[in-house]
Structures are given as C-alpha cells and as structure tokens.
C-alpha cells in the first residue's frame, strides 16, 4: 500500500519536472517576449504544483506545508506574469512577425477613439 503511494508520488514528481523542462524548452525556442512569458510561467506553475503533489504522496506528514506553498504559488504566479506582460507592453517590447493578436493595443485604441470627441 505504502509502496504504491511511493510509486504514484514518484510518477507525479517526474511529470511535474517534465513540465518544468517543457517550459524551459519553450523559453529558449519561442520567438518573442510575450510567447516566452506564456511558456515560462504557465508550464512552471503546473509543473511546480505537480511536483509538490508528488512530494506530498512520498511524505504524507508534510502535506499541510506543501499545500500552503502550492496555494501561495497558485495565487502569486499568474499575478506576476500579468504584471510582467503589462510592463513589457508598456515599455514597447517588439512583437515577432508570427504574433498577430494584441488585445491590449486594440483596447487602448478603442479608449482613445472614445475619449477624443
């Protein structure tokens, strides 16, 4: 029974770190800063949460602390990625030719159009 839990924990741990690796590969290979942000923050959030779940299966007595770290990461990580994306947009980081959708630009143009008359 406990060995089954250990194997499940190990598999979750390897899956989580595999997500970290995929995110890092995306961080190297994506063409511009916005795509790198997408690859670098979302996959690492899921990867870290899966790894914490795996360690919680391996050591069930640490589960409360690991849950605390997981909840903290779940709240702060998307927040920091959003702040970073807005900062990158505001200092005018260039888009790659493959990046075509820019909703923030459209919103700002719309607001300018509405404020002018």
């Amino acid at each position: 029974m406990s060995s089954l839990l250990a194997v499940v924990g190990g598999i979750l741990l390897v899956g989580g770190t595999a997500f970290l690796l995929f995110g890092a590969i995306g961080l190297v290979r994506m063409p511009d800063a916005y795509n790198r942000l997408q690859a670098g923050t979302k996959t690492t959030t899921l990867g870290t949460l899966l790894s914490l779940a795996g360690v919680a299966c391996l050591h069930p007595e640490w589960a409360l602390k690991l849950l605390l770290i997981g909840i903290f990461l779940l709240f702060t990580n998307p927040l920091s990625s959003q702040v970073l994306a807005r900062a990158a947009h505001r200092i005018g980081v260039k888009k790659a030719p493959q990046t075509v959708v820019d909703r923030l630009e459209e919103d700002l143009a719309e607001k300018d159009l509405g404020a002018r008359p």
Partner: protein
Amino acid sequence: MADVLVYLAATLAGVAFVLALIRFILGPSSADRIIAFDSLTIISITGIVLVALAEGRGIYLDVALVYALLSFLGVIVVARYIERGF
C-alpha cells in the same frame, strides 16, 4: 523504484534550470531576462523541495515558502520599476 524516479526528476529539473539560464544570458530585452529570472526562481523552489526530500528534513520547506515570497516580491518590484520608474 521511487529513488530512481526522484533522481530522474532532479535531472529533468537541472536541465530545465540550464535552459532557463541560457535564456537569462542571451535574452535580447530586459523583459526576456526578467521572465528567465522568474522561471529560474520557480525551478529552484522545486529544487529546494527535492533537497528536503533527499535529506528528509521537513524544516527546509519553510525556506521554500520564504523563497517563493521573495522571488515574487523581486519580480513585482522590477516590473514596476521598468514600467514607470517606481
């Protein structure tokens, strides 16, 4: 069985750390380097949890919590700085 999986997980996290470091060195703009910094710190949180698992000491998880808090604070501060100069 589980030990082998823990070793494999540490290797994967190490490779991910090296790749994020490559982006931190290359990154053409400031935003790329800040993104790489964010990824590096999140990968090292997993590294701290793996160290706690290898040493078998639960007190190391407190360090992981403080580390997560401070890396988040650093990213927020630098993003706010490059956005409008504090």
